[in-house]
């Protein structure tokens, strides 16, 4: 057994592939998990909530103001009630009783008539962007609501808007939208399914006693590792395809970048997850421990990835930790490619850290792989 052997690898690959195929429960989970999560999240993010509690700060409603409030009511998104003070509005937003506070500037009608295009301040609770997304978008449609009320000479000057809404997204200035969540979801589903499956691979062999036999045969650790990873790369791709098609159909997710490039990048990301799972499997004494290790990593890798909290809003040390995890980079790649149509040069800065992570982690796995039973 001098050096790496493709014959041995092929024999091991075949065995792993047969085992994967014969495990219907895992296979079903592999298909069901992404669909279920997409549906679950999709339901939450794709809902089009109406009658959102809205507070209105207004001294004594003028003509224009009344027209606008009525127009907002008519969109169906706003359930408007009058507030007595700004403090009441603040409290309502903080408590979650109000999702919007609308604040008309003083002397609104006069400013409009003078052509000053005054700003109507809309404070929006953006903690759940999907909840307010459509409502905010609807504000655009009522920009022309005043046209009928305006004096005839102003009506002709359509070039300049009579007023504007200034939406102030509170708590979540990045305003994650539906489209922002689906890319994150792709990364999350991939991590969950691929990493968790491989965490069991080595420990399971050890617990079943098959490891002793495998070790007594002339196989190299790297051959065992590669054979364990390979089938799940294929499966990972299957999941990506499933998620993309599903997202495209159900959420009208655009794919602006190159699809082959996206697949390539996701392949690297899948490999990193598998390598991590494999490493846990090698280090852990039993399947339980391996799963716990995986769970401990899953939390920070998502919390610090920019999926839940804006990356730039985190303290520097947290950003550094976040930069280590492949999820962070994968999230940026997928978002950039799907939504912004990023190309290969745009994603390279995020691609190499994932590749490096994979190589290092796989090295750790091979290092910790015990070729004896000690």
């Amino acid at each position: 057994m001098n050096g790496f052997s493709f014959n041995r690898l092929r024999a091991l690959l075949r065995k792993e592939w047969i085992q994967v195929r014969r495990d219907p429960t895992t296979l079903r989970m592999i298909v069901a998990l992404p669909i279920m999560q997409l549906l679950l999240f999709g339901f939450a993010i794709n809902g089009n909530p109406k009658n959102l509690p809205t507070g209105l700060l207004i001294a004594e409603p003028s003509q224009y103001e009344r027209t606008l409030v009525t127009a907002m009511r008519n969109t169906g998104y706003y359930d408007i009630r009058l507030l007595s003070s700004e403090a009441e509005g603040e409290k309502g937003l903080a408590a979650g009783d109000l999702l919007f506070v609308i604040n008309f500037p003083a002397n609104f009608d006069r400013s409009v008539d003078r052509g000053d295009a005054p700003s109507i301040l809309v404070d929006a609770d953006a903690t759940d962007p999907s909840a307010i997304g459509n409502a905010t978008a609807a504000l655009g449609q009522i920009a022309t609501a005043l046209n009928r009320d305006l004096p005839s000479m102003r009506q002709t000057q359509t070039a300049a808007p009579a007023f504007q809404f200034q939406v102030h997204a509170r708590y979540n200035p990045e305003q994650l939208t539906v489209l922002n969540i689906v890319p994150g979801l792709i990364c999350m589903v991939l991590t969950m399914s691929t990493m968790f499956i491989t965490t069991l691979s080595i420990t399971r062999e050890r617990e079943r006693g098959t490891m002793e036999n495998l070790m007594a045969m002339p196989v190299r650790p790297i051959e065992i590792m590669l054979a364990k990873i390979a089938p799940y790369i294929v499966i990972g791709y299957l999941q990506v395809a499933l998620i993309l098609v599903f997202s495209a159909v159900v959420f009208q997710l655009p794919i602006r970048g190159s699809l082959p490039l996206l697949m390539l990048a996701l392949g690297v990301f899948i490999a990193s997850n598998l390598a991590l799972g494999l490493t846990f499997s090698t280090i852990a004494a039993n399947q339980m421990q391996a799963q716990q290790l995986a769970q401990f990593t899953l939390m920070p890798s998502f919390l610090l990835s920019g999926f839940f909290f804006p990356f730039r809003g985190m303290p520097t040390w947290a950003q550094w930790i976040g930069e280590i995890f492949p999820t962070t980079h994968a999230m940026r790649i997928v978002r950039g490619m799907l939504l912004k149509g990023n190309g290969v040069y745009d994603i390279l800065p995020d691609l190499w850290p994932i590749a490096l992570f994979t190589v290092v982690i796989l090295g750790v796995a091979v290092w910790f792989y015990r070729s004896t039973l000690d």
């Binding site: 024999a11 047969i18 006693g209 036999n213 002339p218 004896t372």
Partner: protein, 305 residues
């Protein structure tokens, strides 16, 4: 260096504070079939694992097939067949698939023919496409046996290979082992079966990780100094019950209608037989067998503790 296939000196292995293999020294010549005997927990499995490099000894040194067990374990693995005590093949693979894995890992060029051959020899033909996990215990064992000789190793390390295998399959297996030994294969086999021990060229008896007696089955019985008598007659069962605890008797066992007593002290044993007052028994002296030797060894080990 030497012609010995196994040549190890003073191997020691501890798990925590417990010394499991303690100064193990053994030489096995080519095409020898060496039986490995000893009580449960005496260190047989651990020793075999040391020999094939699955465990690293704390101290001691040696060679297998002329290769250093410490430094050249990977090369040793290429040429040995190791059968684990616990079934360690893939239960979700079929018989053929398991064998194909082994053939692939050893990079056999004639794997198809070799697999067909071993399947025929082990009588596994009807189970070719059955999942290994669905086989009965004995058939699993036969699969494991087939797998460990498939790549035609030079040295076989078998850890209780025939536990749970029926008589016919056991005989066939041993015939196979002897055939292969005739072609130059060396075998180290641990067993608790006396009939198998008798088929070994040489026996090694292990206690607390040390060899305490070794030799051919004949020399072991001859040099044991054990005297055995057999009695036939009415009510051998109650005779056995009384004699078992009589002074001068080490063991009294009933085989069917025959009472078998043994001791290392002739006078004490004859005394006990004389003083026995029960139903009428006809006594005659017989040759001690291997089981007497090992029961004696086991008992001798238990006493000091």
């Amino acid at each position: 260096m030497t012609d010995y296939v196994i040549d190890v000196h003073d191997l020691c292995k501890s798990f925590g504070a417990r010394r499991v293999v303690d100064g193990f020294t053994l030489q096995v010549a080519a095409s020898e079939i060496c039986g490995f005997l000893g009580a449960n927990g005496s260190g047989k499995t651990t020793t075999i694992r040391l020999l094939c490099g699955l465990l690293v000894p704390d101290s001691g040194s040696g060679t297998c097939l002329g290769l250093d067990i410490l430094r050249e374990a990977p090369k040793i693995r290429q040429q040995i067949g190791y059968m684990t005590q616990r079934f360690s093949f893939y239960e979700d693979l079929t018989v053929v698939e398991n064998l194909e894995l082994v053939a692939g890992v050893y990079e056999m060029t004639d794997s198809g023919a070799a697999i067909d051959d071993i399947i025929a020899r082990m009588g596994l033909g009807d189970y070719r496409s059955d999942l290994a996990g669905h086989l009965s215990g004995g058939w699993k064992q036969r699969l494991a046996l087939a797998a460990c000789v498939l790549h035609r190793p030079k040295l076989l390390l078998l850890d209780e290979p025939t536990a749970g295998v029926d008589v016919k399959a056991r005989r066939e297996f041993w015939d196979l082992i002897h055939d292969m030994a005739g072609e130059g294969l060396t075998v180290l086999v641990s067993t608790h079966y006396m009939d198998e021990a008798e088929r070994c060229k040489r026996l090694v008896y292990l206690a607390d990780g040390r060899i305490v007696v070794e030799g051919t089955a004949d020399t072991l019985t001859r040099e044991s100094g054990i005297v055995t008598f057999e009695a036939t007659g009415e009510d051998v069962d109650s005779a056995a019950r009384q004699l078992r605890h009589a002074p001068g008797v080490e063991a009294a066992t009933v085989f069917g209608r025959v009472l078998h007593v043994a001791s290392t002290e002739r006078s004490g044993l004859e005394q006990a037989i004389h003083t026995y007052k029960g139903g009428a028994l006809t006594w005659r002296e017989v040759e001690p067998n291997l089981e007497d030797v090992f029961i004696h060894q086991l008992a001798a080990r238990e006493q000091p503790k």
